[in-house]
């Protein structure tokens, strides 16, 4: 590991400002094989798989049950806590069915492309001061742009299924994601403007301080709640969650673009969905709620903030903030009815986009004129 080789290496994957953990991992090349790179990429993957297997699906079922005054899964394990593992075992054993009239190639690569698209943004999410896959100076831009690959995966799955419901679901989903990218991106730009950088680790660092939550961008300007709210609504549409789940509207389209999928391919589509749910939750926490910073303030000499900050605490806060937004997403799903397609487009183009521009201009004025 000499300095000269670090200058010529890939800036996107491993910039010079890479932190110690991942740098040590990248240098881990036993027998000349870049094993460290593989391990580094696998950490978020393992995280997505674990969280969506243990908490995601189980949490969704339990939360929906409690909101409807039911018990939810109770049979497998205590309080049904092993239900998801049983479900996954069932999905693993299932026969891998490809419909006869389906486009074999697109049907098979669709879930894969979808999963890769939702997984790529994890490369730039800072999980703590010591762990980030790649600390890019275009991190936020990368995170919101790379979801474009997901769109192609959805189209491949919907078209490849050779089913009208699937194609309709895919077309709806793509129209929705492409439209809501605009208010979402402008809302995030407000946060980026307050930070003056697109580097997600720097955005998080700028929100740290001894007053805890008071340093978060949400509480740093009187307008920040508007882009925060706009991004939250737009992110619901981007990950196809209720009330914007019209691409998979059960009562109209059976299950949308994944109607024909079963077994492991279905599981992969679900992993992608839970992966992108956490991804948008993490982005909103990083840009507006301080990412891995502790929200607890120092009270006099009682240094609560200093005690609850650090690399390991950072991971805890980051994941807790992400889970909080996932909980809100699930809460909304069982509270609000589904929108119609025209209402969806009305909300995007005539409500969210103008308000996003207003908040953009107001934030710009705030950043320029208020020190």
């Amino acid at each position: 590991m000499n300095l000269t080789s670090s200058h010529i290496s890939m800036p996107l994957l491993m910039g010079n400002s890479l932190n110690a953990w991942s740098e040590a991992l990248v240098g881990f090349n036993p027998m000349g094989l870049p094993l460290g790179l593989v391990i580094l990429a696998a950490i978020p993957l393992v995280f997505i798989a674990l969280y969506s297997l243990t908490y995601g699906v189980y949490g969704e079922r339990k939360i929906s049950a409690f909101m409807q005054d039911r018990l939810g899964p109770m049979e497998v394990g205590k309080w049904g806590i092993l239900q998801t593992i049983a479900d996954i075992l069932k999905l693993l054993q299932k026969e891998d069915i490809v419909p006869t009239s389906a486009d074999k190639f697109l049907f098979v690569i669709g879930p894969g492309v979808l999963f890769v698209g939702s997984f790529l943004a994890y490369a730039v999410l800072p999980f703590s001061s010591a762990f980030i896959g790649a600390s890019l100076n275009v991190g936020l831009f990368f995170a919101i742009g790379i979801t474009a690959i997901e769109v192609v995966g959805i189209l491949a799955a919907g078209w490849g299924s050779n089913n009208k419901w699937s194609l309709y679901g895919a077309v709806r989903s793509v129209a929705q994601i492409v439209s809501y990218e605009i208010p979402a991106a402008i809302a995030l730009l407000c946060g980026a403007m307050m930070a003056g950088t697109l580097d997600m680790q720097k955005i998080t660092l700028l929100q740290s301080g001894s007053y805890g939550f008071a340093h978060f961008f949400l509480f740093q300007s009187p307008i920040a709640w508007l882009p925060f709210l706009i991004y939250f609504i737009a992110s619901l549409a981007e990950v196809n969650r209720a009330p914007f789940d019209i691409p998979e509207a059960e009562s109209e389209l059976v299950a949308g673009y994944f109607t024909e999928y079963s077994g492991m391919k279905f599981a992969v589509i679900f992993l992608a969905e839970y992966g992108s749910m956490f991804m948008v939750s993490a982005i909103i926490s990083i840009v507006f709620l301080g990412g891995w910073n502790s929200p607890l303030p120092d009270i006099g000499s009682f240094a609560l903030n200093a005690w609850t900050n650090g690399p390991v605490w950072g991971v805890f806060w980051m994941i807790m903030k992400g889970f909080f937004f996932i909980f809100v997403q699930m809460w909304l799903r069982w509270t609000l009815p589904r929108l119609r397609v025209d209402q969806l487009m009305y909300l995007c183009w005539k409500v969210l986009t103008p308000f996003a521009f207003v908040s953009f201009v107001l934030t710009a004025i705030w950043v320029v004129f208020v020190p």
């Binding site: 010529i8 990248v26 870049p34 697109l106 890019l136 100076n137 690959i149 492409v178 950088t197």
Partner: protein, 174 residues
């Protein structure tokens, strides 16, 4: 950091992805496969930009080409009639002029490629964030072209909205 062998292997991997998917776009008989294959071409080109230290352009490449143009293209292709077995052949064939133009273009490109031995790196070293520099230059040095492009795009947007609107003016009770 990475040794130069890994670096070279990754570079050729992305170059191969780009070239083979681009060849597939041209040679595939199925238009929809061509369109999906473009995803890998755009992605490979973005990766090649990264090797040139142009990570902002790389991300912009993904946002604009994959998120915008490719999706539009796929929509267009999907709503085309008879896309599976399109006979992509014109009745008019000019083999000799075609071959001449091909050979000329190839010769010119290869000549440029082999005569440009050394790439000239900039005299000034890059300091700090590239994104900041792009932002400053856009709204200081290049503000006039930037605004002109904005106005052009605005005109195109208004035109598109005008073409897509309903004919009946009383059809807006949403």
């Amino acid at each position: 950091m990475m040794n130069s062998l890994t670096y070279t292997v990754i570079f050729y991997l992305f170059a191969a992805v780009t070239v083979f998917s681009a060849a597939f776009v041209v040679f595939s008989r199925n238009v929809i496969y061509s369109a999906f294959s473009l995803l890998f071409t755009f992605f490979g080109v973005a990766a090649l930009y990264v090797f040139l230290s142009a990570d902002f352009i790389a991300v912009t490449q993904v946002v604009v080409y994959v998120g915008g143009i490719l999706v539009l293209l796929l929509f267009g292709v999907m709503f085309t009639k008879g896309i599976m077995n399109t006979e992509l052949k014109s009745d008019v064939l000019h083999i000799i002029p075609g071959t001449l133009i091909l050979a000329g273009m190839l010769g010119a490109l290869l000549y440029t490629f082999y005569t440009t031995h050394t790439w000239k790196p900039s005299e000034t070293q890059l300091h700090g964030s590239l994104v900041e520099r792009i932002g400053f230059e856009t709204v200081s040095h290049y503000v006039l072209p930037f605004e002109m492009v904005s106005i052009l795009l605005l005109a195109a947007l208004i035109g598109a909205a005008f073409l897509a609107r309903f004919d009946k003016p009383d059809n807006n009770n949403l």
